[in-house]
Symmetry: C2
Subunit: 211 residues, 2 copies
DNA sequence: CTCTTGATGGTACGACCGTACCATAAAAAT
DNA sequence: ATTTTTATGGTACGGTCGTACCATCAAGAG
């Protein structure tokens, strides 16, 4: 046989081609031939690594969420070591906003999958329950922790605020995509709410004995 | 010639068939044959009243927004005569939530159009700029008016709050569609923010000399 | 050195989809 | 009464799409 090839690597390569063409022409318009051409392989190869289009689409979603999680992590890491709760929350939210090309593709394709999953039961809508739930729980925990550290208004409802922030971010992302809103405006709205939630307070509570 | 027929009426009939099947099987999956069957007419008739599928889709969007506007108006009227700013805002927001079958279809199909318009330039994304802008301006005006009447916290930023409320409503609508959130939870979040914005205040400022 | 097996190419099939073409019945215009 | 126009039906064409089938080449296994 020819050189043994790493299946997962090939599948990742093809999945990324799928995401690229979906970001360019829309998820509804991607065919297996388009994916093959974008990945630089033959149609037969796409069939070989993903038997059916349904499985290809499913893996594409999985790959997309993985890449997005990595992106958020990178953004978080880029805010410097040991970021405070507010900086963490801000990085989390801003990473979801389509401000660059990668973010644009993420938001568009992920939204396409979400809408698609409402009517196509083949595409399990499980990811659209689990993934947002995880984000919501993470942000809720962050806000609770900040509140207990005295960094927020003392009477905030952490979960409600987490839901609200994530929800606003998602819709404003779509607004940016369709050209209704510019990114700066969206960021300003988010800052408004973060300012409302996080009080100026005792200016860094831990590890920095009052600068 | 046979009985003269009202073209606009027939077009409306077909457009509603389009919306129904799009709500059932997804906008990406609707073909002209499906629309024809759903409307109870022949494929040729759909071609006759809408030359091309592109024009059919465009008119479908137009019809959808019209019907949605009517729905919001009906909800508003149902809140009784002379509703206060808070009741008005609440009716506006709740009407957009997919709590009944009609709302579900509205939200799903409208979202599908929005996502579609990002990549298919044929579908003018103009409606996705104009229509949300109008809603945002209306709600902003409502909040400003309420603030000047002393019904809200005196320092609210009307536009930012309007944007936030509408954005939260939209995303939570999608969350309901995919089964991540139940309608009651979404309503609770909206109430939380309405409670934050609208102060109990002087309990009706006008026309009711202190109950 | 065979022989199996994994990786890949090419291509054809059946189904569907949007559109175009041709036909026809019936009301209105002449 | 004839002719034009309008509404409608049926159907066929060209393209595309997902999938299945068949072939081939090369690297390990025996």
């Amino acid at each position: 046989m020819p050189k043994r090839v790493d299946h997962e690597e090939r599948r990742a390569q093809i999945a990324e081609a799928l995401i690229r063409v979906a970001g360019r022409r829309g998820l509804h318009a991607v065919g297996m031939r388009d994916v093959a051409a974008e990945a630089g392989v033959s149609l037969r190869l796409v069939q070989y690594y993903f038997e059916t289009k349904e499985k290809l689409l499913f893996h594409g979603l999985q790959h997309l969420t993985d890449r997005f999680t990595a992106r958020v992590g990178a953004r978080l890491a880029a805010t410097g070591p040991e970021p405070g709760p507010r900086a963490t929350a801000e990085a989390l939210l801003l990473a979801s906003l389509p401000t660059d090309e990668e973010g644009r593709t993420f938001h568009l394709v992920y939204s396409s999958y979400a809408i698609l999953s409402v009517t196509d039961e083949a595409l399990a809508s499980q990811p659209f329950v689990d993934h947002p739930d995880a984000a919501e729980n993470a942000l809720t925990g962050l806000l609770e922790q900040a509140r207990e550290a005295g960094l927020t208004a003392p009477d905030i409802d952490a979960r409600v605020e987490a839901i609200s922030l994530l929800a606003m971010t998602a819709t404003m992302g779509t607004s940016i995509l369709v050209g209704q809103r510019d990114p700066e405006s969206a960021v300003a709205v988010l800052h408004h709410h973060l300012d409302r939630i996080f009080t100026p307070g005792p200016t860094q509570a831990v590890a920095t004995g009052r600068a």
